[in-house]
Symmetry: C2
Subunit: 376 residues, 2 copies
């Protein structure tokens, strides 16, 4: 049966090693296949695209590339659940938004999933607001997302047409289908799922700009929302005419122990607001692909694929491919040992954090001015 042993749970934990198999099981196309066409249109792929971190897509060609060809407007939308501090896993999504905004000129929508944070994680709305503004929106802006070209919004504060869409969607799916996708469903999770459908589709409404082409870059654990949304688009035909969204799927960056990077695991997660010394300590304790002894490592070489420090280079800290390749070869060849490599990583990380954090206070002020606190 398709998907067996591979049920994706957007609210659970996930450790996926074999992305190719995952892709095939769920009918996600390899992203590499659309890179030549993107280049043909005159756009260099992003770091995540060319490094295969962005490994899969649905309809990127039909929706996004075709939209560019026809000169039609494209919007890119993603959501953040304000359930903790902003970390390098979030930055992965942020970088994609910034790429689409700067290079391809797409309008950006950022959903703050406060409804989901309350429903799933019991996060009070005042706290969700604080996290959204001080952590998520502020870090996105400090990373380079242009607030003038971005629509940030709270799920619980989006307006009638958006909620109408969630309500219409509720009439186009059965409980059995939602259970097949999500497992056992509480009313809160059901409503959060329908709200996410509205998130994904609402930029197509006239009330929100009427963007017919919408791209949703997500971690692969969010694919259930996309599959549900695609089915609902088809079934809403005759009620409201919408277009299936395109979606891209990125690999999930690992935490520093090789497990999940998550704000609930702060020792293994680097936050963009970590003080330099805290970040350095985390790096120095990180799980690497090193051998049992220095002698052995000089002889056999390290395993960058198994190294969480290498993950940081690959995803974030070394944008230059030839520099990255140099480190890879020196590790593989046993020349670069983990101690030195961690010092290099810490230096690069601290340089990044210092520069980033210097922009954060101003970004927070901007964030506060954009998003009003909820009334209750």
């Amino acid at each position: 049966m398709a998907g067996e042993g591979f049920r994706l749970d957007p609210w659970g934990t996930l450790e996926v090693k074999d992305y190719d198999r995952l892709r095939r099981v769920f009918g996600i196309r390899p992203f590499a296949e659309v890179i030549p066409a993107l280049r043909e249109l005159g756009f260099e792929p992003s770091l995540h695209m060319r490094r295969g971190i962005l490994f899969g897509h649905r309809d990127f060609d039909r929706v996004v590339l075709e939209g560019i060809r026809r000169g039609e407007r494209v919007a890119v939308l993603t959501g953040f659940m304000p359930s903790g501090r902003f970390h390098f896993g979030h930055k992965l999504t942020a970088d994609q938004l910034i790429y689409y905004q700067r290079r391809l000129g797409f309008k950006v929508f950022v959903a703050i999933a406060d409804a989901e944070a309350f429903a799933v994680r019991r996060i009070p709305r005042g706290e969700a607001y604080r996290l959204a503004v001080e952590e998520y929106v502020a870090n996105l802006i400090a990373l380079g997302l242009d607030p003038d070209k971005t629509e940030f919004y709270f799920q619980t504060n989006r307006g009638p047409a958006y909620y109408r869409l969630a309500q219409l969607a509720s009439g186009k799916v059965t409980a059995a289908e939602m259970e097949a996708i999500y497992g056992d469903l509480s009313p809160a999770k059901m409503m959060a799922a329908l709200t996410q459908v509205a998130d994904i589709l609402h930029p197509q409404l006239d009330e929100y700009g009427g963007y017919k082409r919408v791209l949703v870059p997500v971690g692969v654990d969010q694919d259930p929302h996309l599959r549900l949304t695609r089915d609902i688009v088809d079934r809403l035909s005759g009620v409201v005419e919408l277009m299936r969204p395109a979606s891209t799927y990125h690999k999930l960056i690992r935490g520093l122990d090789g497990g999940k990077m998550s704000s609930s695991r702060p020792d293994y997660t680097i936050f963009l607001t970590d003080p330099p010394e805290v970040a350095r300590r985390k790096i120095m304790r990180a799980l690497t692909g090193g051998r049992a002894t220095a002698e052995e490592q000089r002889r056999l070489g390290g395993v960058p694929e198994a190294c969480t420090v290498y993950d940081l280079y690959l995803y974030h800290l070394i944008p230059d491919d030839s520099e990255l390749l140099g480190i890879y070869k020196r590790c593989r060849g046993g020349e670069l040992l983990c101690g030195e490599c961690k010092r290099i990583a810490a230096e690069k990380l601290l340089e990044f954090l210092e520069k980033h954090q210097s922009k954060l206070e101003e970004a927070r002020e901007t964030a506060r001015s954009i998003l009003e606190p909820p009334s209750f």
Copy 2:
């Protein structure tokens, strides 16, 4: 087990003969017990109150009467699903709203349950809008509801704080609880139920006037929504402080064949927009409490309790108690036979309809000016 054999289904059909038993099973208090206190406060009970049509309540004393005593503001809220034409079953609720507005000075909220109409009955939103304005709101205004003191709104067009309440509510109930109340639940019904919770509670929010005391007059088939709402109020404590609503329960007027009065059964339902001759024909064919022959009826008398024409007198057409009692006695005594009685009923009905319909065009214009059509 409480409620066994008595599961109320707000979306199903219902034929309830034994209201007293129903009341006891669900812990609804008899309305008669609060009438003396209402009189003590200087208010004459309404026709429906004194005739026992309004047969039950929850917290009418603690919420409504106590509110009047303290000089606090009270709001009354009810909802109409725009799924057909406005009939004498709807008028029963309308009369209560008008009583509370005129006599007790309560602010009135009228929810148009267009979300539910789509979710449960598949009624397209354009049609729901048309029915809401041309049938429900127009008839309510023509019956005497003052549009300046009434807030009519669509569920799908109510604004962020209202939807936030539905989302918060979704986190405070389990799927098992909703199934116990409603039976099998589709996502659409679940969302419609949570939307009704928001309907009932949202007048308490500052955004909608901050009415801490809310009364919800409904048919007894709507009690599941009230019970769910009361539980959710308790559980939301600490998140948002709300007060349990009061509710009253009325008996359901029968259709002219003794079954349900419903817009889906037009032959047995008198609509407030029925042309006079159509209404007369329906009355003349109505099921009565008459005997097999005129001779037998003169000897044994009729049974007004079994008569759908008598229902119309009791609920609507004869506000004067002594006149009603006169008819009751003449029927019981075999003096008044069904043919003559139907002619009396038809005359009263046509007089009412003529007067009512003469106000309808202006009421429709007002309704159109109040409620904007939905964008999709």
